[in-house]
């Protein structure tokens, strides 16, 4: 078997988080191009986790370590944030969360100087530069490939939750998109985006992958930009639909939500994977992107349509006993409070724009949310 497809077992329900972040200048809060300098400075500074380049020079990616509980994940993310914020301050840069930069122009972006990213530019043309959007990926540890596929298929029903709870990309290229998460529209342009095939055993998945490789469509698992994707080398299922939230605390809470859901799905196995979920998948995904918590969703198992906000609150209720077991009660309570009062990062960004009247100010406030206000001059 292709060694890349060799599924490495990992401790069940451990989690890890990846966050793609915006590098801004301090002058007009447009995207800067300082990833190389920032990363070389961070190489010399001690910090937990890992900090890596992303496709353009205006982005960096933070990786947490592997965690069993929400508390340690949040602490670590805060530590990495502080290290990044210190390095950024040294270079007079600002760092921001949020799924999109409100007004940068994609044509001004520069591809990060590495072979892989240059290759992506060759393959995807302008899509590569438009890919300067910022997502959160959550990894959940699973014991084997079959469990990974079960979890991936059953999580598909909850994808709108993750989109609505993390939505933070209402503005793109200087305009209000009227979406709560416009980032996913950018991802959808890629030919290998979408959902994984409806296969249930790891052997079947490997057969599918080999076929795709023989066709010359893919070379590695990295070529699939699916919303949920098994990651055999880490032994995880990776959820990739989230916008990077405006704070690391929210990112940790969303990690906790995924962990608790996975606990519910893997320990109770309440639902069989269903192709019907994929029939309604794009509708649900669009509703969550466009309207966020105010959207509707179709529960394919119950065959009914209901408000997404209701579905999220019901799910949070359902997860309570599991939250108690995995220690995510505090995180889920925070998510519930926001969902109940229809608070979201996207709404906050729009409100900030309404109050301050300029997208430069929105980007500035975005960076203040993430790294705290700038040190006094």
């Amino acid at each position: 078997m292709n060694p890349e497809l060799d599924f490495k077992a990992s401790p069940e329900l451990t989690m890890g988080v990846e966050l793609e972040l915006q590098i801004l200048n301090s002058r007009d809060y447009n995207l800067a191009r300082d990833a190389v300098d920032l990363l070389s400075l961070l190489d010399k500074a001690p910090h937990p986790g890992a900090i890596k380049p992303e496709i353009t020079e205006s982005m960096i990616e933070l990786n947490s370590s592997i965690h069993e509980n929400f508390g340690t994940l949040r602490t670590e993310l805060r530590e990495i944030r502080d290290a990044v914020a210190r390095a950024a301050a040294q270079l007079n840069l600002r760092i921001a969360g949020g799924g999109s930069h409100p007004f940068h122009k994609w044509s001004e972006r520069r591809i990060y100087p590495s072979e892989r990213f240059k290759h992506l530019l060759e393959v995807y043309g302008y899509l590569a530069k438009q890919f300067t959007v910022f997502g959160q990926h959550i990894h959940i540890g699973v014991p084997d490939g079959d469990a990974a596929l079960y979890l991936a298929h059953t999580l598909a029903r909850y994808i709108p939750h993750f989109i609505a709870l993390s939505a933070s990309s209402p503005f793109q290229q200087g305009a209000d998109t009227e979406f709560q998460s416009s980032r996913l529209n950018t991802v959808s342009a890629f030919p290998l985006s979408g959902t994984l095939p409806f296969v249930h055993t790891w052997n079947d998945f490997v057969a599918y992958f080999d076929k795709m490789r023989r066709f010359g469509i893919v070379e590695s698992m990295k070529d699939f930009y699916w919303d949920i994707r098994p990651k055999p080398e880490y032994g995880t299922v990776e959820i990739r639909v989230l916008d990077t939230p405006l704070t690391v605390d929210r990112a940790a809470q969303l990690g906790a939500y995924a962990q608790t859901l996975a606990h519910y799905l893997l320990t109770q196995r309440p639902l069989p994977p269903s192709e019907d979920v994929y029939l309604v998948y794009k509708y649900n995904r669009f509703q969550a992107c466009r309207y966020g918590l105010a959207g509707t969703c179709i529960d394919a198992h119950a065959q009914r349509q209901l408000p997404l906000q209701r579905d999220i609150l019901d799910t949070l209720e359902l997860l309570q006993p599991h939250a108690a077991r995995v220690g995510t009660g505090e995180a889920l309570m925070a998510l519930r409070a926001d969902a109940e009062s229809s608070r979201s990062d996207a709404a906050w960004l729009r409100e900030t724009y309404r109050k301050l009247g300029s997208l430069n100010d929105v980007a500035r406030r975005q960076s203040e949310q993430w790294m705290g206000p700038p040190p006094a001059a």
């Binding site: 191009r33 300082d34 010399k44 001004e108 043309g125 001059a377």
Partner: protein
Amino acid sequence: MTDLEFLPQFPLAANPLALFGVLLLAGVLGGELTRRVLNVPRITGYVLIGLTLGASGLNVLDARMLGYTRVFFDIGLGLVLFELGRRVHFGWLMRDRWLAVMALAECTLSFGCMFGALVWFQVEPLYAAVAAAIGVSSSPAIVLLVARELKAEGQVTERALNLVAVNSVAAFVLVTMLLSWIHREYHAGWFVMVLHPLYIMAGSLFAGLAASWLALGLAGWLGKRIELHAALLLAVVVLLVGAAEALKLSILISLLTFGVLIGNLDRDHVLMPVDVGRFSQIFFVVLFVATGAILKVSDLVAGGAIAAVYIAARFVGKSIGVLCFAHLSRIRAGSGGLLSIALLPMSGIALAMTYSAESFYPAFSAKLRVIVLAAALVLELIGPLAVQFALRRAGEAQKEEAP
């Protein structure tokens, strides 16, 4: 009255507007030509076309004609200084103390090296000191405009601009202080010796501060409308340039102060980040053509060896200052050397300073001219190339990259 009085009378009187048009056209064509033929930055082309049209060449732009361009020259200079000031972040200089130390070190060491070298070559200490003080400044216009032309962004670009702002101020403060010495040399009274520099410094700072208050107050009232803020800033810049001239203050200090303070005093972020450079480009072209026309190739011959010593000492001083602290400021390896190169261009402001000294003591200025103007000529021409090299080498220029 004859019937033909509606016709113009010959010879035609010089018309400042037509002159502005001619300078602009000559600059644009010259800049593009040198870029295409020699592959050098357009700015070098503007200066070359100025030299061609000026006293060293066709002498179309003689002193009288240049007098008419003064107003456009000053607006261009005002806009450059304002934009440079806006790039200065007090907060950054506080956070990255080594950057601040680097700025002071390169000013001090370049002054020391130039002064020492000139005195060694038997230049009188007073002339050596004034020439060294003028040489402390790097050209804000060249560094800013090359960065704009290359769409450069990054640590070398931003740090170079901050260093240029600091060394421009340092040069001006030094020259102003030395004015006291010049006054003494020419037997002026104590009153003039103390009051003149004090008036220029305090007056210019206050003018910049008042302009910042005015602009911020009006920006708050106008609301977040970028086109209105653009007009507001242009208006206040021109107003301040005019006021500084009328009040015999320093355009450099007033406009730099305005630029620095408007960013650093705007705690409520009322002012939108207007890109002043977009509409000031035409003044910049005229600024460089006029600078080229002022310079004389004969100065280069007169300056000769001493100008070469001056340029070399200046580069050595600036490089040591930057390189000693580049590591502590934790920038990428190699960036220190590129920063030193980016500081090479000498300022058109050097010309203004030389002429300002001339206006008081013509004899003094004639001696200074030999040293400073020859160096200014060389560095106006190779300076843009040096900055272009540094920013490209640092990987900060916008590369043409498919698609």
